[in-house]
Amino acid sequence: MPRRRPGQLLPLERRILETGLGLQTADAGFHGFLLAAALSATDESTALTAHGTLYKALGRMADAGLLAAAWEDPAIAASAGRPRRRLYRVTAEGATALAAARAVAPADAAPSRAARGIA
């Protein structure tokens, strides 16, 4: 898949980057459900993003270099008694793309939910 030019973000991708930057810490990324819950909390609707929509977007963004994805150490998941998580982090390229998108269209001019392409 061709790499994206900075600033070319779909509405859902922009929200993922914005929300992801808020979720990730210096030593921990975020996983799919955590992101879905956070997206839903910042939305006017309480519906969680659909599985297919979310993971298709995350995969596409990882392929484009906007996110870095890595599977959690299985030992950590086993000790916590749960399936291992796939952890994402917003990359420097993702942050640059978000900054470029914000420069073109500030957040307060964000389109409606339907226009944001949320399933």
């Binding site: 996983h31 879905a36 929509t53 399936p83 399933a119």
Partner: protein, 240 residues
């Protein structure tokens, strides 16, 4: 009972993982396994989140199923991209797929409409027979009944990719039988149908009615047969 132990939650998880098993079938094992593992993690996390928040198992299951169903188009699009080796599908192929989907949708809707006409005719025959002891000819009744069953079988064949072209041929024939005999039965047993037919044909010019029915039948048959040709497996292989 915690949400994660609720039967509804576990059933919804099984359904979603079963669906994931289906749409990842035939993909490279690493890609398929990664998607299924990520979904399994998501489902577990949603159950754990529901438990922490004291949400019911049924509510959590509804939310999970809603997320899964809303995501089906994206799942299928993702699958197509993966099958194409990660590259987005060319526009021409996407357009061809959309045309094929629209054709299938129209064929199914027309088939359902024809089946509905057949069933309506059978109901009217039953009512008139019960109330007045009158029935159209045996040929009309048996053709309507068998034709309606055949149309329903054709719809089943149409919905399976492998038998789609057979279903289209099947529907072309069975729709013609139902189209002809069910309208005859309705004309004989239903005053509402008679009024509609009179309105269509400009009573008393009744000979126009068979012509209208014949044109309708020919149109449906031509449409179904065109779809059968387009879906014929040999043709697809030749194009590939």
């Amino acid at each position: 009972m915690s949400a994660q132990r609720a039967r509804a939650y576990r059933a919804s998880v099984r359904w979603v993982l079963g669906w994931a098993e289906r749409y990842t079938r035939g993909l490279p094992p690493a890609i398929a396994g990664s998607r299924r593992d990520e979904l399994a993690s998501d489902l577990w996390e949603q159950g754990a989140d529901a438990r922490r928040r004291g949400r019911s198992g049924v509510g959590t299951a509804v939310s999970i199923l809603s997320r899964a169903v809303r995501g089906i188009p994206a799942d299928l699009a993702w699958r197509r991209v993966q099958l194409a080796g990660g590259a987005p599908e060319p526009r021409a192929i996407r357009r061809e797929r959309r045309v094929a989907s629209a054709g299938l949708l129209v064929a199914v809707l027309v088939g359902l409409a024809v089946a509905a006409v057949g069933l309506a005719a059978l109901v009217r025959i039953g009512i008139v027979l019960g109330r007045h002891g009158y029935a159209p000819s045996g040929m009309t009744m048996s053709s309507t009944a068998l034709g309606t069953v055949a149309v329903l079988c054709g719809l089943v064949l149409l919905l399976r990719r492998r038998t789609r072209w057979i279903g289209a041929v099947w529907l072309a024939g069975s729709s013609a039988v139902v189209g002809w005999f069910a309208t005859v039965a309705l004309e004989e047993t239903s005053s509402t149908a008679q009024s509609i037919i009179d309105g269509l044909t400009g009573y008393p010019v009744l000979p126009l009615f068979p012509l209208i029915v014949a044109i309708g039948i020919a149109g449906i048959a031509a449409f179904d047969l065109a779809l059968a040709v387009a879906w014929f497996p040999g043709r697809k292989a030749a194009r590939a």
